[in-house]
Amino acid sequence: MRTVKLTINGKPVIREIEDNRLLVEFLREDQKLTGTKESCGVGVCGACTVLLDGKPISSCLTLAVHADGGAITTIEGIAEGDRLHPLQEAFLAHGGLQCGICTPGQILAAKALLEANPHPTKAEIQHWMMGNLCRCTGYYKIVESIAVAAGAN
């Protein structure tokens, strides 16, 4: 057991956790932030994507202790009150989501992209987003949504 101190969506969190706790379990079960999903378990699908100090990571392959001292952003943290993030607006307006299970990961990965590269080309969007799988949309509208959000910046 050890105590971790971190922020989640800007809020300070201090918790005692098991050494072997995975970050995805810590978020979903301990913090009740179920927006982050678990699917493939091997870091391929991206459904478990969260941001650690602004960088996209696979929370299913990260020990919760590795978030100690860091700032975690989950999907619950990117709107500002009732004001949706431009990515959330764009995904809604342009059909970037269908069943919604991959959507939190897609949006967080895209958020990190636009922070690193505010005006990515279509090829750059595809390269960055390659690790976030979607089975419903065929990806076209995800790319479009991200491009629109980039344009809106």
Binding site: L92, G100, M130, R135, T137, G138, Y140
Partner: protein
């Protein structure tokens, strides 16, 4: 009946999904997100052998592990068989295991780690038995029999199937044998100018939904069973659960949850009955989530198939007769499929063509492999890959341009389908032509670039019962209650738009609620691209009744006869110069105790003579040194009726098409000695955003559709025929004919080395 003209306040608008804000903010609740006090976790012990006798199971060490609340084997659960048509699925298997992954024991414990540690403490003695893995081997007289027991089949097995259906005929391991025919194929073959015969093989693939199968069962102190299950048809699930457990349906409540993708794979109870047994044994709510490994090795993937086609043509390459022999490998259990044989295996064979004579035989066969289920247009991708490759091979054999081959043989108005059905408003050739034009079929192309075409016909589903309940509140807002989840197709949004349209309202004035199974009416759920049609009918019926009530209220308010009332496109009511809008009318009614209003409606599942066509055009570039196939662009042309929501409609086209690209280019469930070895996403390769081609969609509006708004269906149109368009393009590029999926660079290179290949 309601006027068919559109107010355009709702239908045709690209409105945002009604569940969209929750999904983009992470607030949507899927079954795995539900947390109950005292909840514990269930895990299963699965057979490592494809076929074995269970000599003994000793669970004592597992039961003694601290934190374990229940351990069950086949002896501890009701000895019932579950099945959606054929009841052959035990809750936990007893006596024998029939595939690698067959569940024979289960544990519920305080944590998943404890449950998994307990599984390792269960001692099982197996005696291996002969196993059979291919359907061809399984029907031989010497094959081991996988189900020696008599399997109970639902009495309506043959409903809606034309032809001769035999369930469990006296052929080893055959679940169903279907023979359908039309005309006189034998004579037609005798008179044919040329006969072509080819054989094709399509492996199994996974639906690929990102949310794994999940169930949570909680038994209340009053005995009512509450469930949260990733299942697309909760009313049907409830009925099956009641039958298997003896619990009355009104003591079972499937609570509404969102579904993270279905594509046909979440229609069965999967682990639900077992989860219930664990919850009962442990006295605690139990959650079971399939791991990705379990999903990929032991869920209910698409059937693999071998398809042999034999076609006779006249000297102008017109199709005279088609004979098809389709063998589906169903795996170890039949019960995960709600029909006796796969619809696409017979109903859609060469359905886009005019073929006066046909004879099809379809077998569905047990093997000691993972039991298969339904997946988007069940049976159709396997058969259509064969048909569209075969037609292409005939075209080349007859020295005819493949596009012209399709045009010449396309079913046209007045033709019967190959099975002798009458369909109207057939726009097959128009769809082909529109796609070919957009694609530039005849434009010059560089070396090592190839182009291929495929076509497909598939009617909207119009089966199964859909019911809705409408409520109009005192403020004029309308609520529609439906009985099944939106699996991602946009069903709830479509429902809201249809409701809004009926009342001249905007979608913002409509709320969609999915009720649990105790409060909501029956909904068959998403299947066979049926929902827009069936929910449209149910909504129309309910709206009609409510409009009668509204008209009566308006007449009372405006002091006239109901027959004097005119309902405007904006939903207002007028008579003799006076007008009242819906909101004001409801306020007035409320003051007199006459509001809210409610009504119910259901669909009329009658066979329809409508159908839809799609034509795909694919362009590939081949790297001759490596065999790599680069998918450059696809044009997909669709004949359609009224589109309710252009964004969700296009989303269905794009999503289905990329699923087909996956089937063509990279996906397969690979087996070794009966075990699935593509057991994680590092080895089972789903398409990524970098694997998609340039895509152009061509829509031909104005096709016929279902009343009242002439809507058609799109969910299963674009995921079926694409693989053949791609393999046809590969042949066009380098002369290598692939008769198996998926395409691989190595197979193409082998084909090139074998001498095919003169460009």
């Amino acid at each position: 009946m309601v006027a068919a003209s559109l107010s355009n306040k709702a239908i045709g608008l690209p409105v945002r999904r009604v569940d969209g804000v929750a999904k983009v903010t992470g607030r949507t609740v899927y079954a795995g997100d539900v947390d109950l006090p005292g909840m514990i976790y269930g895990r299963c012990l699965r057979s490592p052998y494809p076929s074995a006798r269970i000599v003994s199971i000793d669970t004592r060490r597992a039961a003694a592990l601290p934190g374990v609340r229940a351990v069950l084997t086949g002896a501890d659960v009701p000895d019932v068989r579950y099945g959606r048509m054929c009841k052959d699925v035990p809750i936990l298997t007893k006596d024998v295991v029939r595939f690698v992954g067959d569940k024979l024991a289960a544990v519920a414990a305080d944590s998943i780690e404890t449950a998994e540690a307990a599984l390792e403490l269960i001692d099982v003695q197996y005696e291996e038995l002969p196993a059979v893995f291919s359907a061809e081997d399984a029907v031989r007289p010497s094959a081991p029999i996988i189900h020696s027991e008599t399997v109970e089949v639902f009495p309506n097995a043959a409903a809606g199937i034309h032809g001769e259906l035999r369930m469990y005929p006296p052929i080893p391991n055959v679940i169903s044998q279907l023979k359908v025919q039309h005309g006189d194929a034998a004579s037609a073959f005798a008179g044919a100018y040329k006969i072509f015969e080819h054989r094709f093989a399509v492996p199994s693939i996974h639906q690929g939904y990102i949310e794994p199968h999940t169930c949570l069962v909680s038994i209340g102190a009053d005995g009512v069973v509450d469930l949260w299950v990733a299942n697309k048809g909760p009313h049907i699930a409830r009925a099956h659960m009641a039958a298997a457990t003896g619990i009355a349906e009104d003591r079972i409540r499937f609570n509404p949850v969102a579904i993270g993708g279905d594509f046909g794979g979440k229609g069965s109870l999967m682990d639900t009955l077992l989860c219930y047994c664990l919850a009962r044994a442990a006295g605690r709510p139990v959650k079971m989530v399939m791991t990705s490994f379990e999903e990929l090795t032991a869920a209910n993937p698409r059937h693999s198939a071998s398809v042999t086609l034999r076609t006779g043509v006249d000297r102008d390459a017109r199709l005279l007769a088609i004979e098809a022999r389709v063998i589906f490998n169903a795996g170890a259990y039949a019960g995960l499929v709600p029909v006796p044989t796969l619809h696409g295996g017979y109903a859609e064979v060469a359905g886009a063509y005019r073929v006066p004579n046909c004879a099809f035989e379809v077998l569905r066969v047990y093997t000691n492999t993972v039991p298969c289920g339904h997946m988007r247009a069940p049976g159709a991708p396997q058969v259509t890959f064969a048909v569209e490759s075969h037609i292409d091979m005939i075209a080349h054999g007859m020295v005819l341009d493949p596009l012209e081959m399709r045009r010449r043989n396309a079913i046209a108005e007045g033709d019967l389908t190959p099975l002798g059905e009458k369909r109207r408003l057939l726009r097959c050739r128009e769809t082909i032509d529109a796609g070919a034009r957009a694609f530039g079929w005849d434009k010059p192309k560089p070396a090592d670039i190839g182009r291929g075409i495929s076509i497909f016909q598939h009617p909207p589903g119009n089966f199964g019962r859909s019911t809705v309940a409408l409520t109009m509140g005192v403020d004029g807002r309308i609520t529609i209650q439906v009985g099944s989840p939106d699996t991602g197709t946009g069903f709830h949004t479509i429902a809201a738009q249809l409701v809004a349209e009926h009342f001249g309202a905007s979608v913002e004035e409509v709320d969609v609620v999915q009720g649990d199974t105790l409060v909501s009416g029956f909904e068959f759920g998403s299947s066979g691209q049926r929902l827009t049609t069936t929910i449209g009918q149910a909504i129309a019926a309910a709206a009609d009744k409510m409009k009668q009530d509204l008209t009566a209220l308006a007449a009372e308010r405006l002091n006239c006869a109901p027959s004097d009332i005119q309902m405007g496109e904006d939903g207002s009511f007028a008579a003799a110069g006076a007008t009242i809008d819906r909101r004001t009318l409801m306020g007035w009614a409320a003051a007199r105790g006459k509001a809210p209003l409610s009504s119910q409606g259901e669909n009329k599942p009658v066979p329809s003579d409508r159908t839809s066509f799609v034509a795909h055009f694919a362009e590939v570039a081949i790297d001759r040194e490596t065999g790599q196939v680069r998918l450059r662009r696809i044009v997909t042309a669709h004949d359609i009726g009224t589109i309710v929501n252009p964004i969700t409609h296009q989303g269905q086209i794009e999503g289905g098409l990329i699923q087909a690209v996956g089937q063509a280019m990279s996906e397969r469930i690979a087996l070794k000695d009966g075990a699935v070895i593509t057991a994680h996403l590092g080895d089972y390769k789903l398409p990524t955003v970098m694997d998609i081609p340039e895509l152009e969609t061509v829509l031909l509006p104005g096709g016929g559709g279902a009343a009242p708004f002439s809507t058609t269906a799109i969910g299963e149109m674009s995921n079926v025929a694409v693989p053949a368009a791609i393999t046809n393009a590969v042949f066009d590029a380098v002369g290598v004919r692939l008769v198996e999926l998926p395409i691989s660079a190595e197979k193409v290179l082998e084909g090139l080395s074998d001498g095919a290949g003169a460009a």
